[in-house]
């Protein structure tokens, strides 16, 4: 009975890496390679289980694994593996496994290895638990654990002040999003309780199927905010999206992601590809039925995603740090995924398929890009592209694999054929969907964003390739190709970045769409969309030829420009790329975000003004309390002078008192 056996092992997917965390953390010091073997074995185990579940589910998607156990009060924890979760689980454990293997060599010289491997194991465990959670609270718990691990890992070299600061920034910025997410959960909880009329035995309040079954009622609840009638569903989904903005580095909470480079490069690879930033996209995908019934939220998702794709691209093009370029590229690609989801108001459930497909492919090529960058940094010792150049000669494998990743990222492929990189098969559907969205709703801005970002993507990634691998060395470095334990994961990832998209493109999206229709909760997406007055038409595939070819054309244009400037060096940028050019300066300074966020908002307003005022109030309150003491002491200081020590005075006082008493008694007697 393979089937039942598999289900019983499902809970092990996050538990194995969590156990590896405990073992490595406490006993890693005494093990060879810092105990790296435990996380690797554990994650390999998780991958095997996930992959077998995925394989089984490919045949019959309705066989969802769903297990729930009471946690506390009316809340539960549990396992839910449907097509969406299965695909994510396999990807996360697979990419994480490769990164762990790679890290054995990459981190070999670091004395903090046990801590590193323990924390990455926990990181993976948290992400896996997030993916397979069957309720929103467990989702949030894992979400926060992911945040904690990113904090610990970004600040891995905590003795470096910049690393400690970057870790703090990452935690705090994502925390802003987390609070929005939590607020959404709290409003949702409160609404569900109201709608369900209190607690009901046998149901767990925050399970996804429970939530989804209340979507129509949630949508009917109206709140009045500043005179606008907004449905509770819209508020909740927007707050959820706020969480996703923080975690997935969308504008305006993307500022932590480039700084997260302070951690080891393998950590960056984990964060950017497998374990952290995809959580936000996954959140929106997981709760997509709610979003589809709230068209305003979807519109926000689409616009913000598209804008982020473009906005991050503009910054990626001027960065000189190898890893920073990749970081902005991640933000930009995440923007694409969000855009894909946001288009759901027109293309319906296909949005989930399109977006998650890009997420998976992105995971492969982005992990590859980071690991290649790590390989370069490991060998050369610098990550400033101005000091590199000609690395391709000394590190041929790295150069080839990284070029494959770049091609995939830029989305090269021939429309209408089966020839193309993974990125091509997942990015083009998003751009096409944006076109259909524009055609249908006469709203072309997301499409323009996506096309412009495609051009920038190609330009900045080939700028990176040319600056790093071609030409002559611009500084004295001694490079060598990395050992096999590093290059083998590179090769595997390169293979996936090249062919995964092409091989799976037909089945993949259809498989993901089963998540909400054929299995699990059996939602009628058409009805839900009807609540939000959406019209689902799906992708038609009948776009004009130009639209199909346009992404490739702009990508080629980007490549050509990068080729001219950085390879042939026939076009000199000169004053264009100097601080005298205000646009360049604006981009290079990253739109002055540091100044606005850190110095103005957090330090200036919150810390400086509000906290200062509060402290003043505190001093005032304390002074009032102290004043009671001071007044009491002062008054008694004066009063005690009555005690003159002269007996006659006392005697006089006694007699005067007695006299007064007599008069008083007399008066009272008369009154009575």
């Amino acid at each position: 009975m393979v089937k039942t056996a598999l289900e019983e092992f499902a809970f092990l997917i996050p538990i194995l890496p969590a156990l590896a965390f405990v073992i490595t953390f406490f006993f890693g010091k005494k093990m060879p390679a810092g105990g790296a073997i435990f996380p690797i074995l554990a994650i390999a185990g998780s991958f095997v289980i996930s992959f077998m579940i995925t394989l089984r589910m490919l045949g019959n998607p309705e066989e969802v694994i769903s297990q729930s156990h009471s946690w506390f009060a009316v809340l539960n924890f549990g396992v839910l593996i449907d097509p969406l979760a299965a695909v994510m689980l396999s990807m996360v454990s697979f990419v994480s496994l490769l990164i762990h293997i790679y890290a054995v060599s990459y981190m070999s010289h670091d004395p903090g290895k046990p801590r590193y491997f323990a924390e990455t194991a926990l990181f993976t465990a948290a992400m896996l638990s997030l993916v397979l959670s069957d309720n929103i609270l467990q989702f949030f718990v894992s979400w926060e654990l992911v945040g904690l691990c990113s904090y610990l890992l970004i600040g891995f070299w905590f003795e470096k002040p910049s690393a400690a600061a970057a870790a703090k920034k990452a935690f705090l910025t994502t925390r802003v999003g987390d609070v929005m997410f939590l607020t959404g959960i709290i409003i949702l909880t409160s609404d569900l309780l109201k709608l369900a009329g209190g607690f009901q035995d046998g149901t767990y309040l925050l399970r996804f199927d429970e939530i989804f079954s209340y979507i129509p009622q949630l949508s009917a609840l109206q709140a009045n905010i500043f005179g606008f009638e907004i449905s509770h569903l819209t508020i909740i989904t927007l707050l959820f999206f706020g969480g996703a903005i923080g975690k997935s580095g969308q504008f305006p909470l993307h500022v932590w992601l480039p700084d997260a480079m302070e951690g080891p490069t393998t950590v960056s690879a984990l964060i950017h590809a497998a374990t952290m930033v995809t959580a936000g996209v996954y959140l929106v995908a997981r709760t997509f039925p709610m979003f589809i019934a709230a068209p305003d939220s979807l519109m926000v998702v689409a616009y913000l995603g598209g804008f982020t794709a473009l906005f991050a691209g503009t910054m990626g093009i001027v960065m000189n740090d190898l890893k920073r370029v990749l970081a902005y590229s991640t933000i930009s690609q995440l923007g694409y995924m969000m855009l894909g989801l946001g288009l759901g108001s027109v293309i319906g459930l296909e949005a989930v398929g399109v977006s998650i497909f890009h997420l998976i492919n992105h995971a492969f090529f982005k992990a590859l890009l980071f690991l290649c960058a790590g390989s370069v940094i490991h060998a050369v010792g610098t990550q400033d592209m101005r000091e590199l150049g000609g690395v391709g000669k000394v590190m041929p494998i790295t150069a080839v694999t990284m070029t494959i990743a770049a091609l995939s990222l830029a989305g090269f492929g021939i429309p209408g054929t089966l020839i193309g990189t993974s990125g091509f098969f997942s990015k083009d559907p998003i751009i096409e969907a944006a076109y259909i969205f524009g055609e249908h709703s006469n709203n072309w801005i997301p499409y323009l964003f996506s096309i412009a970002a495609a051009f920038l993507t190609s330009a900045y990634i080939f700028r990176l390739i040319f600056m790093t691998f071609t030409g002559k060395p611009r500084s004295n470095y001694h490079g060598h190709e990395s050992p096999a334990i590093m290059t083998v994961p590179l090769a595997i990832l390169a293979l996936f970045a090249l062919v995964f998209g092409g091989l799976t493109r037909t089945g993949f999206m259809a498989f993901l769409e089963e998540t909400f229709t054929n299995s699990f909760v059996n939602l009628n997406i058409g009805n839900l969309a009807g609540i939000g007055r959406n019209e689902l038409i799906g992708t038609t595939g009948n776009e004009p030829l130009l639209i199909l070819w346009l992404p490739l054309i702009v990508a080629l244009a980007g490549l050509a420009i990068a080729f001219l400037i950085y390879y042939l060096r026939v076009v000199k940028l000169g004053p264009l790329a100097s601080m005298k050019n205000p646009i360049y300066r604006l981009l290079y300074k990253r739109y002055y975000q540091h100044e606005i966020y850190t110095e103005f908002l957090s330090l200036g307003i919150v810390y400086g003004v509000i906290a200062f005022l509060t402290q003043v109030i505190d001093v005032i309150i304390d002074s009032i309390v102290e004043a009671f003491g001071i007044i009491t002491v002062g008054v008694s200081e004066e009063l005690r002078k009555v005690q003159t020590g002269v007996v006659q005075n006392y005697a006089t006082a006694v007699i005067a008192g007695v006299g007064l008493l007599i008069i008083l008694v007399k008066l009272i007697m008369e009154v009575i």
Binding site: R640, Q643, T644, G645, V646, V647, Q648, A651, T652
Partner: protein, 100 residues
């Protein structure tokens, strides 16, 4: 028989003299003597009422009171003796060590 009011008048007179003495004199010995005077005026009252009502309660009280007054005078004078030995003076307005 002398009416009660005469006794009371005398007692009030004695009491007032005592009060006057306590309030004006600075010498400790004199003050104690004045206090004795006040006590005795009270005793006089007690005895007078006792004879007026024909019960013995007042006289018993008076005897108690005399005994107490004796004890008090003894203690008081002893204290003043001690003070006199320490400070060489007995004027109470100069002895303000217990003030404040």
């Amino acid at each position: 028989m002398i009416p009660l009011v005469f006794y009371l008048g005398l007692s009030a007179l004695l009491f007032s003299i005592g009060i006057y003495g306590v309030m004006t004199h600075k010498n400790g010995i004199r003050m104690i003597m004045c206090i004795e005077l006040m006590l005795n005026s009270a005793n006089l009252n007690l005895v007078a009422f006792s004879s007026y009502t024909g019960t013995l309660n007042g006289q018993v009280f008076a005897i108690f009171s005399i005994a107490l007054a004796a004890a008090e005078a003894a203690v008081g004078f002893a204290i003043f003796m001690a003070i006199y030995r320490m400070h060489d003076k007995i004027n109470l307005d100069e002895l303000k060590i217990l003030r404040w």
